[in-house]
Symmetry: C2
Subunit: 629 residues, 2 copies
Amino acid sequence: MPTVTFNPLGKTVQVDSGTDLLSAAQQAGVVINSPCGTKGTCGKCVVRLIDGSLESKSSSILSPVAIQQGYIQACQTSVSEASAVIEIPALAQQPAAQFADLSENAKRIDNHLFPQEWQYGPLVVRKNCHVAEPSAGDGLSDLDRLLKAVKEKFGSKEVTCGLPVIKKLADTLRAERGKISITAAVGADIQVIDISEEITANPNFGIVVDIGTTTISVLLISLIDGKIIDGQTDYNDQLACGIDIISRITYAQNEARLQELQDRVLETINRLVKKTAEKNKLKPGELFSASMAGNTTMIHLLLGLKPEYIRLAPYVPTVHNIPPLRASTIGLDIFPDAPIHFSPAIGSYVGGDITAGLFCTDLVEDTEEISVFLDIGTNGELVIGNNEFALACACSAGPAFEGGNIGCGMRATEGAIEKVRIDPTTGIADCQVIGDIEPIGICGSGMISLLAGLHQTGWLDAAGKLDRQRNSSSIEINGRQAAYTINSRQTPAQGSPIRITELEIENIIRAKAAIFAAYSLLLKQVELSHENVSKFYIAGGFGHFLVLEDAIAIGLLPDIDRHKYKYIGNSSLMGSYMMLISEDFRKRQQELARRITYLDLSMDPDYMDQYTAAMFLPHTDLSLFPSKS
Amino acid sequence: MPTVTFNPLGKTVQVDSGTDLLSAAQQAGVVINSPCGTKGTCGKCVVRLIDGSLESKSSSILSPVAIQQGYIQACQTSVSEASAVIEIPALAQQPAAQFADLSENAKRIDNHLFPQEWQYGPLVVRKNCHVAEPSAGDGLSDLDRLLKAVKEKFGSKEVTCGLPVIKKLADTLRAERGKISITAAVGADIQVIDISEEITANPNFGIVVDIGTTTISVLLISLIDGKIIDGQTDYNDQLACGIDIISRITYAQNEARLQELQDRVLETINRLVKKTAEKNKLKPGELFSASMAGNTTMIHLLLGLKPEYIRLAPYVPTVHNIPPLRASTIGLDIFPDAPIHFSPAIGSYVGGDITAGLFCTDLVEDTEEISVFLDIGTNGELVIGNNEFALACACSAGPAFEGGNIGCGMRATEGAIEKVRIDPTTGIADCQVIGDIEPIGICGSGMISLLAGLHQTGWLDAAGKLDRQRNSSSIEINGRQAAYTINSRQTPAQGSPIRITELEIENIIRAKAAIFAAYSLLLKQVELSHENVSKFYIAGGFGHFLVLEDAIAIGLLPDIDRHKYKYIGNSSLMGSYMMLISEDFRKRQQELARRITYLDLSMDPDYMDQYTAAMFLPHTDLSLFPSKS
């Protein structure tokens, strides 16, 4: 069997000839980025053959020179009869995980938004309970007496009990002389999911899971006092199958692929849960409840539901509101009968992450003041409303802000240019790089900063064209196209400087226009204007790096009083946390989901007008950006 | 490896030395009776070593002569290093299955007792349903539209739907343009358990299962019209682990044994279901519902619940009323999400077979007339009541009537003496044998007939002692003990004639006394006497062979107007059938179970008096048996 060695990591694996190179890498424990989902169109998985040979399909994106230098697309390559040595360029490597501290999230949310003491009602409760001892006279079975005792403890709700508890009932009741601890899921009824010996202070742990397209975060919660104990974030293993929602849906084209996506997201979640539990000296089986949120596609993939109809007109998903499910039913490795709360979705592209996230804003409060909620992640979602109405839509921004569709784009991790200052005279960029190392690429906030800087210094006009008149060593004209070199250092393996073309600049302008047009349209729908907006919440990982002035300068965000802006981090995670600990909030969330009107922008004729108007820097209507005109 | 050959079947099997002989037989496909559950006390598994050698433990029940002749107890024997040839006597062989025609059962029940048309409401319904097509405007997911359509179809009940249906929802709805067939479980709410393309006349099949200690019966029902299509009966595979409830409970002494009992009963049920389904060109997966009944111990074993506490004071079982379960949860091989109805139990020894069976009697009707219900199977259960009260108890009759505890006793199958006429002068028996062949043993009705005949001809006195004064070639006196030879032919392998000892006669008198005492006690409890009884129902397989006059002659049944007696066959099976097809009956059954008072005779001081009084033939109080005095 041939071997494949992956440098610079120096990992070698022996595989059958014919194995595709991405699988070989995976077996070697090496992750190669393939954001387009192995379609061969993104070029992010380009690696270099150093020694030996491999079988590659013809490539439409590699130049003859690059091919001659040994560059190949990993997703289009399989192992041949011979062994091979590969060099993975920095851009093709999954960046080392550097995630924001999850404990920061709680601090960003206004205290009054969290469930108050009287609203506390976790998804699962554990209580000591005294069950009457067996007696011939009362005609009651063990189960009858258990249900009676639990009903007395919990009040009027119906009480049920499944077979696993019934199986351990007789021995437990007799060994403990009826003094037991019960674990029960609280919903429309009380479901006893476990029993054990009496415990002085019943520990009660649950988890919160935010399933993002790019990253997945898990929180460990003590349900006795609602305290957030710990948390972990990792990349979604599905990244190997595509960077954004659309490429995942495309990837899930058959049963086996859908199963693979389901396995990958479950593996990520279960890994994070296990790690977090073990770090806190808990077994996953000691976690008795979970609250989950994710966009509609992520939830469909988690449950193994075909996501295809989400992107086919009329864009109707299989399910918005997931019925109550147990952990074992969905493959979540916690206590098998643990109940799972899923935050309800509103539409194909406004999912449970939004109905959870809104609980971190005044949109769920009893106020007439208008709030706007914008979640920019791999996708963008927007909600506007107050205590009387709420309107939601998705902004088809595409993955540009996460580094997608941009040759030198990357996520905001070590080596990414995150801020750029442009010399007004020379047009040369001065870059600030995450981790203060040599730059590898540029992240979303870096690109916004770059465009803002170039535009404000006059090197980029309102239409997104680079200055062809003045001379800058950073601007290269190539016929009707121009490109801007951000950093001229040759990266070791990619063989080209960090640069951005006018076409790529247009991609970013399209993304910001999509978001601003959505915002404008929602305002117009409810006959309001910028002045009426009291609060503008920005959620999602991307917002963490965003410089407000830059975002306003390119017209991504409206030119309103800066104090109205509030960054709330991973609101989906924090909202899901609230759902785990409050029955009252779970009910309010259902009401909220019902009262939000979902607007499908693709069906709205006005949207294209708003979009076209926003395709300038910052906008065609400069009166909207008084501070910039 | 040594081989073991089982004659007269001529089956040979190769096994490891050390394998116990019963397992070796099982592997060879040969069933050897072992009613006491391998305790070595019943002697029913005695076989004869013809050639080779085996390792046997010392036997307390085989005579030195029998041991010398090569007789061994199979349950106390294991295979040695050498091969062996075994001869299985007829009594040790599981008799060939000859079961009563199940279709007879329906004919025995009064027509007015079956659910009437307006009460028809099967456990599962299948209906065509028009689900609205996906539309961007209504904001409804596939699931939302399905639930809406089902709710409209079924009226006001809540509608739920599990993950398996959600998984096939998107494709089915789109392929069929919303015109689908839904399969739904009807309970407190409507649970959609399957969907498929529209079907002109939706076939809807369910099964009814009666789990007896000895036999298991299955009926195949068409739920469109409630018609009984077919049925099958077989011995409960658990028979290898003990003949009666107590020996099964003893057998289930550890996890592995309990698991074995659960596996055996499931295997029997699944085999019967498969056979019945296939005979009618159906797959088990096309059966969408089941209604089950059995005594409390059988249901505990089916669910894998430790039965131990049923026979330990204060005799409180784990569960009377099984919560709604799905087929896959209990291991029943029909449609995985098919709902199972379990008839509720009342006490440790009055199970769901009784709350089902009572629906075949006037006890559930709106009448003041007093009915008595007696189910004699391996155990005996008795209920007395009318529209105002109902009192139930178990009669610890033991397995005597099924051939247990009687050396030459056997079940009522081919070769069993079922009726005996005694020559008043000689005291010699003239036997009627099932199948008109040479007799192998004597069944319950044969023993009752024998005792009645011997008593009526004066060869047996009221205390159960054989006549020592007159001379009969059939009576053999041996010191203080006497025995009666029913048939003097030497059976080929057992080496002894068919005979019954006074001790065994006492066993039968004990059994009949237990039942009569229970009946007397229940009457006394409600301050009624024989005259008040309007109807006396006899249920269970044993009753089929029972000659009323014989049973009254020995005092097993009261001496009342013969027209009041009614044999209703397998009432548990027929009652369970009613539960499958009528929601109204399922509710009435719950009410019935609540209103029945369970009397534990072992706790009642009066019971021993009644029992002692009934230990005569027919009774100490002859005024109770006017036609016999």
